[in-house]
Symmetry: C2
Subunit: 211 residues, 2 copies
């Protein structure tokens, strides 16, 4: 996560190919490149392209990573979504649920890779759900794969609720499908825009991590 | 906030001299430099020195910023604190409250500035409270300045509680002292280590920001 110099926030989700230490290094490198550019005011599409070019040249096209950027851009009052991921992005707006599932390649392996770019107005009752393939493939060994869009539809059926509750519900469903033992890293980013007032105008960041 | 490549998290708090757009730019530059280094595995003290040198050279010693780095280092299982700030750092451990208030200069103006460095064991019932001078000077126009260490002492009198509650209580006290109209930016970072178990091993990040 990084603050945008013109106002707003960007969230960068990267999943390096395979698992373990090597994948973590690749994720770290790609995410670092993207947030460094975003922090300097580089626009989202260019930051995704640059992250691709950087990995492609650094590892000669031999390693891939999925990359999603979710930005709240206060200068344009839009939500900008950049996607280099086979997994779709789920968008819920007052007019319903949309699946952003245009063909998309991960970064790092094909020379001319570009991100899918979508902009949405920054309006209440909007939710954006971005995830890594660990969520989409949870339960595949037991034949209980999740239908993530259907779950998202259920979770927003009565209006867009708290982002944390949506993320927690998706993660809990994945853990259940995997019998509590995930086979792959699972990451979920949920952004919701609501019309709740702010009691004091403060920005709050809460992180909880097991040691 | 940034993930450390060897495991753990670092939180970087920067407050640029004066207010407004210029100060935000300076804060952005110093924080970016520090998190870029930390993300590459640079140790905390070196990252603070580098942020100072960078600002000192970039603005010829004409602009200052306070800088605090709060790191949870999983490689050494310590909490590392780097401080270039007149405001003290408050540390609560099972053996009581300590005020880290050694003389310390902000970064950017004096050639040989170094951070105050402290390491603490990563043990339960520990709290670290770091803040910008907006908290220390809240209420100074109405003669109701806060005694932040005394407040922190009260807030942890019955054991170290939720970090968010401590931060919220300090912010609420400052807003009250300023009659709801802060004269300066106020930022508070609270880190707590507890012995609560984790229900699912997941890391959670929640951000709330008014539009």
């Amino acid at each position: 996560m990084i603050k945008r110099p013109q106002g707003g926030l960007s969230f960068v989700l990267v999943d390096g190919q395979h698992g373990g230490r090597g994948a973590k290094n690749i994720s770290n490198i790609v995410a670092r490149k993207a947030i460094a550019d975003l922090a300097e005011g580089v626009r989202d599409g260019a930051a995704a392209l640059a992250a691709h070019d950087y990995l492609f040249n650094y590892r000669q096209g031999k390693v891939s990573a999925t990359l999603n950027i979710v930005s709240v851009d206060m200068a344009t009052r839009t939500i900008a979504l950049a996607r280099n991921n086979y997994c779709p992005t789920i968008v819920v707006t007052p007019s319903g649920l949309r699946l952003l599932d245009q063909p998309s390649n991960p970064v790092g392996i094909y020379a001319c890779t570009k991100p899918n770019m979508i902009e949405l107005p920054l309006q209440a009752e909007t939710a954006v759900i971005v995830y890594t393939d660990g969520l989409a493939t949870a339960g595949e060994y037991s034949g209980q794969t999740l239908d993530v869009p259907a779950l998202a539809c259920d979770l927003t059926a009565y209006g867009v609720m708290d982002a944390q509750r949506i993320a927690d519900a998706l993660l809990a469903a994945a853990l259940k499908a995997d019998d509590g033992q995930p086979n792959d890293d699972i990451s979920v980013v949920v952004l919701t825009v609501t019309d709740e007032g702010s009691r004091d105008g403060a920005r709050r960041l809460v992180v909880r991590a097991p040691l």
